[in-house]
Symmetry: C2
């Protein structure tokens, strides 16, 4: 199971108590931060997210509302004497920015900051519980979306049957991996006699900042959950396109064409105080839509 | 009159709802921001401070808790189509950081950002209502304090006397500047017959991050208000010095020796949730002390 917590959901300028973009994605083992706008570390405190647990950070692009909180977060981790590695997946120039800011502060990190520059589409991280891929979206500057696919190659053991065949529990992890069991008499117990197919491998697609482009549909198809930006309502379609952003109609169209399970919309323009119309307009095309309200946790 | 509003008062890591350092200093004409930690623009929204009014920003040093909110603030000003000049007084390397962050975002500012690199002690800004000086303090990296001195060279007119001498109101501004009046008959009305000394010129000294050093006393002497950091309580004097920070005793000693009118203490370590002891310890040496509680406005 994946759990996605919204830490910030507004576009460029923080407004109406809404903060710039950041999300926390967690599994049983991995804690990932997706984008890190200004104030993300304060949002993490507010929603009781432990900085120390985060081992992987993904930054979609170098507009400030997606990364101005990053060096502050890293600095706080350093002050709190973090020692475990931190992996950062981001547009290559971000490394220079971080290095320069650490240098002027005469600061050295007490942990390894492992920088992975984004480039071609494809797998960028192979984690214990997730495979992460990046894909280019269509924004004013280089910008990447991310796809997080749960690893569930493991089969589920049927305990009663495994016991009936007297399979010792220390062999169970090999059963989960699909192995047959050979007992003391040399009899082969076929794996499918004691296991069934494992749980569904959930997939989450984060589409970052982008204008509508049909190539995105292919990148995110069959995701259980898609986050797609809706900077504007549909009456601002032209403005949205000119600024390389999207509307409610764009978001809903992508979710529908991609056969998504659920759609979350966010990155609301500071023009809008009320968000009800975002939901209404999007649901007209794609029913299973929710707003990216800060503090909300979506289970996938 | 000067008005100082505290926007952030915590040290390096935001904690207990306290934000990193930032203060707003305003006169009838000038709006100045002093330091700009992460989240300052959100604090400005919270306390109804208009970004557009700020024309001068002073950054004491390049530890992140004093400037990580700056590029976000500048970016928001740009998105809100600011057109008037913005003056920035800061350690010289900050210019490279800003330029790099604007470049990777492919952003150009719609207003002039006039950068003034800090260096030798002395006057750095001559504003309509204030003279601003910088002075080096004693921190782990280059760090400057700032002294803000109100301009009140103007004399106050005594209306009844000016009327008695039939001085026309359009000459009043020249009376305020100290000129004598010559009437139609050629009679000289000496200035001091119709004016009295103007109001007291208030002075505010911001001592930034520093360990105790007696040279600071000389820099801030006779200030009506001093802000001095108290990262630690007095039982951590050694730790404070080793980290180039101060205690309650340091702050109070400077205020007392400098014959300050009032002392504000802040930059509290994240070790402390409760702040009462800061006030108690400081008041033992310097009575007129207040905590830099966020949102508080001190009139000078």
């Amino acid at each position: 199971m994946l759990a996605l917590t919204i830490l910030g959901s507004n576009s460029a300028i923080a407004a109406f108590g809404r903060n710039p973009t950041s999300q926390l994605l967690q599994t049983n083992e991995d804690f990932l931060l997706i984008d890190c706008g200004e104030g993300t570390q304060m949002q993490m405190s507010k929603f009781k997210v432990k900085k120390s647990k985060i081992n992987h950070i993904f930054i979609s692009h170098l507009h400030g509302d997606h990364y101005f909180g990053l060096v502050g977060l890293i600095s706080s981790m350093a002050l709190q004497n973090r020692s475990n590695d931190l992996h950062l997946y981001a547009p290559p120039p971000l490394k220079d920015i971080i290095d320069l800011q650490l240098k002027v502060a005469d600061a050295t990190l007490p942990f390894n900051l492992l920088f992975h520059g984004l480039g071609e589409d494809g797998v960028i991280a192979d984690l214990p519980t997730l495979t992460v891929s990046s894909f280019k979206v269509c924004h004013r500057i280089d910008c990447w979306g991310f796809k997080f696919k749960e690893k569930t190659n493991l089969r589920s053991i049927v305990p009663a049957r495994a016991k009936a065949y007297e399979i010792p529990p220390d062999f169970y992890s090999r059963l989960q991996s699909g192995e047959d069991y050979v007992n003391a008499k040399g009899t082969i117990i076929p794996n499918d006699q004691v296991t069934v197919e494992g749980p569904h491998a959930s997939q989450y697609a984060y589409c970052a900042d982008t204008k509508f482009h049909k190539s995105i549909v292919e990148c995110v198809k069959n995701s259980d959950l898609i986050y797609y930006e809706t900077t504007y309502l549909k009456d601002r379609q032209e403005l949205a396109e000119s600024r390389y952003h999207s509307t409610t109609v764009d978001a809903a169209s992508v979710a529908k064409a991609a056969k998504a399970g659920k759609l979350i919309i966010g990155h609301f323009s500071s023009k809008y105080e009320q968000l009800e119309n975002f939901l209404t307009e999007t649901k007209e095309i794609f029913t299973n839509t929710e707003l990216a309200i800060e503090g909300t946790c979506f289970k996938i």
